[in-house]
């Protein structure tokens, strides 16, 4: 190209070429920049959680209940409350979600299932605070604040996730498997329950884990439904403490020990959620590798 310009030919074309490549290089740098910003943010969140939360992660914290200001307290009742409510929500959401997924997979092309699929997709992104308000209107106004109402709001959040993942994992089962079941003379529901569901259990399991990891950190709906409780509570028809609510209440306070406890609670939830996500991701990867 240098030779060309020595001969006195126009170099505008050449110039244009370089600008194209410079632009390409600039965009590449920008792309790497954005990626590194996102990774830095992730690391910053994890680091601040670890630095502030790890010192509170002692045997004492895990085995003692929350205490009034000025006294040493732990996180036992929020941890148990979270476990109870998330567990209850899972127990409620899984059968309904799986059944709805079966329906969607079975009647894929019908108008009603298209509407339901659309609704489920929208429900997945509906602000969770509105679900909390809804459960407040339906349950709390009639029966009062309770862990049960909290679990209901979490179950509503988990339901569409489970239904859609179940549908998707049922859809990728080869039709030959259905046909083999029918060929043995089994009725439709038996084929569904004992042949298709076990074949799709990997995908369904992943969906359930994702749904759990989504509801484990939800705070907004619990504000209006389970209200929080600084005492020990087994009764699911009474207000109950939970980790996200404890974080919300403690992080705003001026007391250093409370702020520290809320960092520890935040660390606990994040580790739990990230572990669930890593497990599902590894599980999906290993299945994909096996299928190939």
């Amino acid at each position: 190209m240098n030779t060309r310009s020595k001969k006195g030919l126009k170099v505008t074309h050449n110039h244009h070429m370089t600008w194209r490549f410079i632009k390409n290089r600039l965009i590449t740098v920008f792309a790497f920049g954005t990626i590194s910003i996102m990774i830095c943010i992730l690391l910053s969140i994890l680091a601040s959680l670890l630095i502030n939360g790890i010192s509170g992660l002692t045997f004492f914290t895990l085995t003692h209940m929350t205490a009034p200001q000025g006294m040493d307290g732990g996180l036992l009742n929020p941890i148990l409350g979270s476990a109870i409510q998330v567990g209850l929500a899972t127990i409620m959401a899984v059968p309904v979600g799986v059944m709805a997924g079966i329906f969607l997979a079975e009647h894929g092309r019908k108008k009603i299932s298209q509407i339901i699929r659309f609704t489920a997709d929208i429900m997945m992104s509906v602000p969770s605070i509105l679900i909390g308000l809804f459960v407040y209107i339906i349950l709390v106004m009639t029966t009062g604040y309770s862990a049960f109402a909290g679990a209901c709001s979490l179950a509503i959040l988990a339901l569409p996730v489970i239904a859609r993942t179940t549908e998707e994992s049922l859809n990728i089962i080869p039709p030959a498997i259905h046909e083999a079941g029918y060929a043995l003379g089994a009725p439709k529901w038996k084929v569904m329950l004992w042949v298709c569901l076990p074949a799709a259990r990997g995908g369904i399991f992943t969906g359930i884990l994702l749904a759990i990891s989504r509801i484990a950190g939800e705070t907004a709906p619990l504000l209006f439904t389970s209200l929080g409780n600084s005492d020990w509570s087994w009764d699911i028809f009474k207000p109950m403490a939970s980790l996200p609510l404890t974080i919300y209440q403690y992080a705003d306070s001026a007391d250093d020990t409370w702020i520290k406890l809320s960092w520890t609670a935040a660390l606990l939830i994040t580790v739990f959620v990230l572990c669930l996500n890593l497990i599902t991701r590894m599980y999906v990867d290993s299945r994909r590798k096996r299928d190939q």
């Binding site: 194209r20 390409n24 965009i27 590449t28 920008f30 790497f32 954005t34 990626i35 910003i37 996102m38 943010i41 992730l42 910053s44 969140i45 601040s48 502030n52 059968p95 309904v96 979600g97 059944m99 709805a100 079966i102 079975e106 299932s113 339901i116 659309f118 609704t119 489920a120 929208i122 429900m123 509906v126 602000p127 969770s128 605070i129 509105l130 308000l133 809804f134 209107i137 339906i138 106004m141 339901l159 239904a163 003379g185 439709k188 529901w189 484990a216 939800e218 705070t219 907004a220 504000l223 996200p244 974080i247 809320s262 960092w263 935040a266 939830i269 959620v273 990230l274 669930l276 991701r281």
Partner: protein, 317 residues
């Protein structure tokens, strides 16, 4: 189907299939019912506020529990502006991430970085709130806001946006936190879309001597534009309803001004904060429910559009 066996069927053998299909019908219709109930109940409970204040509910700016005057404008503007800032920041960032992950980096490396960005999507929103409150807010107060003031402080018109005290909280901080939260979603949609572009189209562009950016700009983006718009709108829908993260950093004042540094409010954070102080059945509670139904309306429209766009594209290909 099986005429030979049919005569042996006892009546109870028909009950189980009926029960089973009844269960599947019930479960899926339940999703629909919950959704319809959500809309109807919110509007029903907000009825009192709507009938008391009428259309003024949307246009007034007063929120005064003492004089029993409530209105949505400040919170509505706060919601729209903070989520708009979030989308404006998230859009280029997630485009850069998706471009890097799907076009530049080798597959093996990209896999791990994708996993890392998706972990960001899994972190609960209250954690973002804490991180924002204890890490981002001091940073904004000490470095970013004084810097922005220093640059734009004397520019006409723009100085309106960057006036006010540098406390670190405010709409801008909320927008930044929202951007961090929705970037992984938009990135995931974009990555999916980019990888769905036919390789033949890209390869033919490369063979004409196009650079990587030219292939992206002239081949991939036109091919996937609807999905990308759908993904961005989906991210916007999520940003509209974020509660906990925003509540921590927005400062909570019933005020809507031009400054991005002033404390403001969003519908979701207003509901979360005022709810415990409202008596059931009161006008205030009804106003909160009315706010909720306004939020429901906005996010429904936004999410409907995004699903429509995403669905349309995945159906045709």
């Amino acid at each position: 189907m099986m005429p030979l066996k049919k005569s042996n069927h006892r009546s109870e053998k028909k009950i189980i299939p009926l029960f089973f299909s009844g269960m599947t019908w019930f479960s899926s219709v339940l999703i629909l019912l919950i959704f319809l109930g959500l809309i109807l109940e919110l509007f029903g409970q907000g009825q009192l506020a709507f009938s008391t204040f009428g259309f003024d509910f949307l246009t007034n700016e007063v929120w005064n529990p003492v004089t029993k005057q409530f209105s949505a404008r400040a919170a509505l503007i706060g919601t729209l502006v903070s989520s708009f800032i979030g989308v404006m920041i998230a859009l280029p960032v997630s485009f850069g991430c998706a471009y890097c992950l799907s076009e530049i980096l080798p597959k093996k490396v990209a896999k791990y970085i994708t996993a890392a960005t998706q972990l960001l999507a899994a972190i609960p929103s209250i954690i973002f709130g804490m991180w924002g409150f204890f890490v981002v807010v001091p940073g904004m107060a000490n470095y970013v806001q004084p810097f922005l003031k220093w640059i734009f402080g004397d520019v006409p018109f723009l100085q309106l946006l960057f006036s006010g005290g540098t406390f670190g909280i405010g709409i801008l901080t909320a927008g930044i936190i929202l951007a961090v939260m929705i970037t992984p979603f938009i990135t995931a949609v974009m990555q999916e879309a980019f990888s769905n572009t036919p390789a033949m189209l890209k390869e033919s562009a490369y063979s004409l001597g196009a650079t990587r950016w030219e292939v992206m700009h002239h081949v991939t983006l036109p091919w996937v534009q609807k999905v990308v718009v759908g993904g961005v709108v989906l991210g916007w829908g999520r940003a509209l309803g974020e509660t906990m993260a925003v509540t921590f950093v927005i400062g909570n004042a019933h005020h809507a001004g031009w400054s991005l540094f002033m404390p403001s409010n969003t519908i979701a954070s207003l509901i979360a904060l005022e709810f415990p102080e409202s008596a059931a059945g009161s006008l205030k509670m009804s106003s909160l429910m009315a706010l909720g139904s306004v939020l429901m309306l906005i996010s429904f429209i936004v999410l409907f559009c995004s699903q429509f766009l995403l669905r349309q594209v995945f159906k045709t290909r």
